[in-house]
């Protein structure tokens, strides 16, 4: 199998925020014009196949009549933004909660955006105005402010956190008048699919805590679909692996039959993780490797030192720390070797000769 013949599907659903205050969501920060919007639930899917990540998320119309927006950190520049399939997100959620089909209510979004950032793409999908931006955290923040959104005080740091890794963001907001014309009512979701060429998928988690108090708990469901069992590296504690198994044929067939999902291959590995962490502790992301011999990136996990790495706890009681430890050891070993090589190279007399 080619290293690129991998499919990673990530779906984040049912983000439940406890308490009040500005919301956060599974894949983006939610910001409203008055800074007090309540986020309900969000569903996100990112699929990685042959070096292309397909990112699907659903935005839920609040019906408030005011402009809401959200911002989503992206690993690279998308080549296409289009309407997503109609049931992909719901079907994945139902796969792990078959007895509660109503639990997959998908998401919503709101966002944030900016001035000085470079607009790479603008499109309208149903009542959503989608803008793909390139810029630093400051620029994206300015764009958000210039477009009428009130950013929460933690937004500058969070935007910088993501911009240092990837300067690409997607901002989305509902046009209330267009939603009314389309007959959308509160709770109606609009799925969006982005096609993103990249070979290093990661799941943004820190953005979920945007605007929340440190003690407010963020809960999210994260679904991964890969060709093989993936290597995972969370940047902190709070993730529990609930499922790790070969995806069922009916699930894959259902996904493949949805709009834009014909890429789904005949066999995949399903991982289902639950996130539960206080927003104050949620300062990390989830890095994923789908390539043999290449560990997940500590940078993509949002950590600088391996000592900060978290553990994914097996839902059946078994800790997955050995996986993280193995990944961490590999990275440390690799860095050690690199340092040794560098140091050796640094003292070669022939390289010192003028």
């Amino acid at each position: 199998m080619s290293p690129y013949r991998v499919v990673v599907s990530l779906i984040v659903v049912t983000v439940i925020l406890f308490g009040t205050g500005p919301p956060a969501w599974a894949c983006g920060g939610l910001v409203g014009s008055n800074g007090s919007i309540q986020l309900v639930k969000t569903t996100t899917l990112a699929a990685f196949h042959e070096g292309v990540q397909r990112y699907v998320t659903s935005f839920e119309f609040s019906g408030e009549g005011e402009e809401l927006g959200s911002i989503v950190p992206l690993p690279a520049v998308p080549t296409e933004v289009e309407r997503g399939g109609d049931w992909t997100l719901q079907r994945l959620a139902r796969e792990v909660a078959p007895a509660q089909p109503e639990a997959f209510v998908d998401a919503s979004a709101q966002a944030t955006a900016a001035a000085g950032a470079r607009v790479l793409l603008e499109t309208e999908i149903d009542a959503l105005d989608i803008t793909v931006l390139e810029g630093g955290g400051d620029e994206v923040g300015e764009w958000a402010v210039a477009n009428g959104f009130s950013l929460t005080p933690d937004a500058p740091e969070v935007l910088d956190f993501y911009a240092e890794r990837s300067p690409i963001f997607m901002a989305a907001k509902f046009d209330a008048s267009r939603a009314a014309e389309l007959g959308q009512t509160s709770g109606d979701g609009t799925p969006i699919m982005l096609t993103i060429p990249t070979d290093e998928p990661w799941v943004p988690l820190r953005i979920l805590g945007l605007g929340l108090g440190a003690d407010q708990v963020v809960e999210a469901d994260v679904f991964l679909l890969t060709d093989d069992r993936p290597d995972l590296l969370p940047g902190g504690p709070g993730l529990t692996l609930q499922r790790s198994e070969a995806a069922s044929k009916p699930l894959l067939a259902d996904l493949r039959s949805d709009r834009g999902m014909e890429w789904v291959p005949g066999g995949m590995w399903l991982s289902y993780l639950q996130l539960e962490a206080p927003a104050g502790d949620l300062d990390y992301d989830l890095a994923i490797s789908t390539t043999d011999g290449r560990p997940p990136s500590a940078v993509d996990a949002g950590i600088e030192g391996l000592g900060d790495a978290g553990q994914i706890v097996d839902g059946q009681g078994g800790a997955l720390w050995p996986v993280g430890a193995g990944v961490g050891t590999s990275i440390a070993l690799g860095m050690g070797i690199a340092v040794m090589v560098w140091r050796r190279r640094a003292v070669r007399p022939e390289e010192l000769a003028i």
Binding site: G21, P22, G35, S36, A114, A115, G137, D138, E139, V140, G141, E142, A144, V145, S150, L151, T152, P153, D154, A155, P156, E157, L159, D160, G211, G213
Partner: protein
């Protein structure tokens, strides 16, 4: 029976010590710290990631501090200096912007602003940003007005 006597005493001593320690901590500048004034002085106060560049400043009574506030964030902030009444007014207020009166100023994204404030009596004076959520996020600090014989 002995515990009923000892526990309150221990607790009282601990609380007293804590309060005294806090008071000493607040009122005494650390070794090497500058105590500004008296007279007019200028201070640069940066704002980055919704945090002030310092959360404590020591001045002598009779010091007028000229705060040069540089906001490097993409969002607006404010600097409010004053007593409890001033802060209470801003916490409950709905003013989006403050005209540059002494001790009260708004500073927009990537802007720099100036305000002055006179510190005359020994004690502590709070400074903070009262935009929604900013105080809770940690945008606050104190100016400690030392006794006249402080360094």
């Amino acid at each position: 029976m002995r515990w009923r006597v000892l526990v309150p005493i221990v607790v009282a001593v601990a609380v007293t010590g804590g309060v005294a320690g806090y008071a000493l901590d607040v009122g005494s500048p650390p070794a090497g710290a500058d105590v500004l004034g008296p007279g007019e002085v200028s201070v640069q106060l940066g704002i980055e990631h919704s945090r002030f560049s310092f959360d404590r400043l020591w001045v002598r009574p009779g010091t007028t501090v000229r705060f040069q506030v540089r906001n490097t964030d993409p969002i607006a902030h404010e600097l409010i200096i004053g007593d409890d009444e001033v802060h209470r007014r801003h916490i409950t207020g709905i003013e989006a912007l403050h005209s540059p009166v002494p001790g009260e100023m708004s500073v927009g994204p990537h802007e720099t602003g100036l305000t002055t404030y006179s510190f005359d009596e020994p004690g502590t004076v709070l400074f903070a940003c009262h935009l929604p959520g900013h105080l809770g996020y940690g945008m606050k600090g104190v100016v400690v007005v030392t006794a006249t014989d402080a360094r």
